[in-house]
Symmetry: none
Subunit: 214 residues, 4 copies
Amino acid sequence: MARLSRKDILQDFRSRSLLEATRRIIATEGFDAVTMERVARRAGIAKGGIYLYFRNKDQMILAALEAIASEMLREIETQVDLRVDAWARLCQLVRAQMEAMERHKDILRTLLLVRWQMSDRRERKKWRRLLRYRERHLGRLKAILDEGLKQKVFHPIDTAAAAFYINEMTISTAQRRVMGFSQSSLEGDTQGLMRFIAGLLSDKKSLNRSQENI
Amino acid sequence: MARLSRKDILQDFRSRSLLEATRRIIATEGFDAVTMERVARRAGIAKGGIYLYFRNKDQMILAALEAIASEMLREIETQVDLRVDAWARLCQLVRAQMEAMERHKDILRTLLLVRWQMSDRRERKKWRRLLRYRERHLGRLKAILDEGLKQKVFHPIDTAAAAFYINEMTISTAQRRVMGFSQSSLEGDTQGLMRFIAGLLSDKKSLNRSQENI
Amino acid sequence: MARLSRKDILQDFRSRSLLEATRRIIATEGFDAVTMERVARRAGIAKGGIYLYFRNKDQMILAALEAIASEMLREIETQVDLRVDAWARLCQLVRAQMEAMERHKDILRTLLLVRWQMSDRRERKKWRRLLRYRERHLGRLKAILDEGLKQKVFHPIDTAAAAFYINEMTISTAQRRVMGFSQSSLEGDTQGLMRFIAGLLSDKKSLNRSQENI
Amino acid sequence: MARLSRKDILQDFRSRSLLEATRRIIATEGFDAVTMERVARRAGIAKGGIYLYFRNKDQMILAALEAIASEMLREIETQVDLRVDAWARLCQLVRAQMEAMERHKDILRTLLLVRWQMSDRRERKKWRRLLRYRERHLGRLKAILDEGLKQKVFHPIDTAAAAFYINEMTISTAQRRVMGFSQSSLEGDTQGLMRFIAGLLSDKKSLNRSQENI
DNA sequence: AATGAATGAGTCTTCATTCAT
DNA sequence: TATGAATGAAGACTCATTCAT
């Protein structure tokens, strides 16, 4: 791989600083509090300097969101152990997703809010890269489901649809926590969620078995 | 009932125009695109006139969202037939919800956007009234589930959690359609959703039976 | 004099209500709080109705200020006893002025602030009527001084200038009270003021005499 | 002393321009005529630029007033010669004050306007800093009077009250000139004023003496 | 490359005045 | 006459973006 010149390193560092500053502002003061002025100050860069790294505010925020999404996905994916069976792996994935969302709950709101702006068809292109993370996650979920099906751990099911629903249910559960509407612990909510997912996927036998493994 | 004078009618009309304009802007361009100027222009009213009907921008948006939630809930609730059994009634409710959301795609977009706005804890109080609609809907769902439990149509389950997840899955399904990510017909998506819900609620026997009734 | 028709009486009543409302608002909420809306509501009249009595806001405020000035002057002038000598009469006048200003201190600020707007030559005409009240008061002061001079109670002096200074000193004393910078009682401040005025007007002998009469 | 960079100079210039523009508008059109738009235009700066120098409108106006008060006080104080006796020094001070006010008629108008603004108790804190200038001036006056008392140049008197009244009379005299109500020359008015002040302070002997020195 | 002062369009809100009823 | 809904011109303040240094 090519050596990074001092300049490249500096550029990369500054760029990261900006994204990190953006993220911190979103987390602590909300999306509307993101101004170029504030971001620059927190990143220790002059306001005008931002434009050396990002075309405009939109692009900067997009990059910040992408960084967050990317990090969360990485966090989730490193938790999955390929040696265990499909159900156990699904459990790991969902649990990891719950934990990641809990960890980043300050940002979660913004990230998910953006999902809806993404459905504006006129700006589809703008959000395309961000949508890829979602697709990647759904793909991973589906792969596990497919494998479970092959292993006859789950009953026959539309795995794409199931992946979609499982993801949505997980997000909803996390959202309920973010809104402060859950009295349970993270673990309690996760287990409740897994029980429902088990209901979706399994015939009675595997359901029983699976509940032991939650 | 009191006769409405010409003035009352006009007032009501203006007020509705403003709420409608607000809704359309939120749905098509997002919350940030709502400016008093634009709302006024779309409603065919002078900028200052808005303040005859709403104290400020926040109140106007809130009123618009409440009108939306209220209307959608009313549409859904009128579809439920009290004489049929719990499962059939659940089917009606979910189907009605799907249809209402399909009918008012822009309303749906607005409601889903606001769901995430609401999760900002700093503004909890602001959204309280709006959350009541959600609670009312979840209550109705739960009542049906409770009754189904009493009638032994469903297997033992945490009905509050189940109501939550059923609602979330329904919304997610509609959402997928709004985002253009579903190739199925409304009917197809609804049936798929009901099948998953059946999986959640029923033991094998009732599952089989229920699938006939979807 | 012509009989007043019912209409005239009503008009007069409404007009007074408006001026009184204006005055109360100035006194309680300050000059900037005077809006046509508020004035109308307090006067129990519709907003648009004001324009039946006054050409515009400026004229209304002017009329209100004039009413206040007129009332204060009347209050002051009724206190002067023509039978006593010049110095006693001057004492009465100054004391009455202090008392009137104390009574109307909420308004005083605005009334005196306006004095300065009056010095805008471009708007001289607008303020002319209000200035007459000032002139009338100064005239009365000067008349007393002139008489005192004739009676040899005061030492030779430019009575016009003295009238001016006495009035200014009186206003300044009242102002200091309005600003909360005086620890004395009204009576104390008034006596202090009179002592200084005595210094202005009298030779040593009459000074001594006058101080008994303060 | 630190060298001023070109930037510092420019900043200082802009800041001064804004204060100067503010002052001119207050003096010619009154407080209500001060709008950010107008100030910016007169200062040759963009509207938003003002906020680089002042937090908000209030602060800008306050800064302008403070600059005015400060400058006027400086002009006055440099005229006082410490080697002469108390009466001569008082003459110098009053004369200097009259001259400064004559030189800066628009400043005077501004200061007198603000005197009445300040008497709004609701905003006491806002004006505190500005009041210090008044106190400083009164303190200087009182010090001269106290010294005169010690030197037996003046007859026994409440020097604090006398300082207050002398200042008020001086201002009133200048004010009368600004309003165009004086036919005398500046010198004539000043001498008239000093004669009255002499009446306040002196027994007959010193009065006679002092009149030679006016 | 980097800075941050400067710009000016855009935002919410207020309110004197008009005018249909 | 009287009403008060409607208008629209201001006003204070913010902030993305530019550009001279």
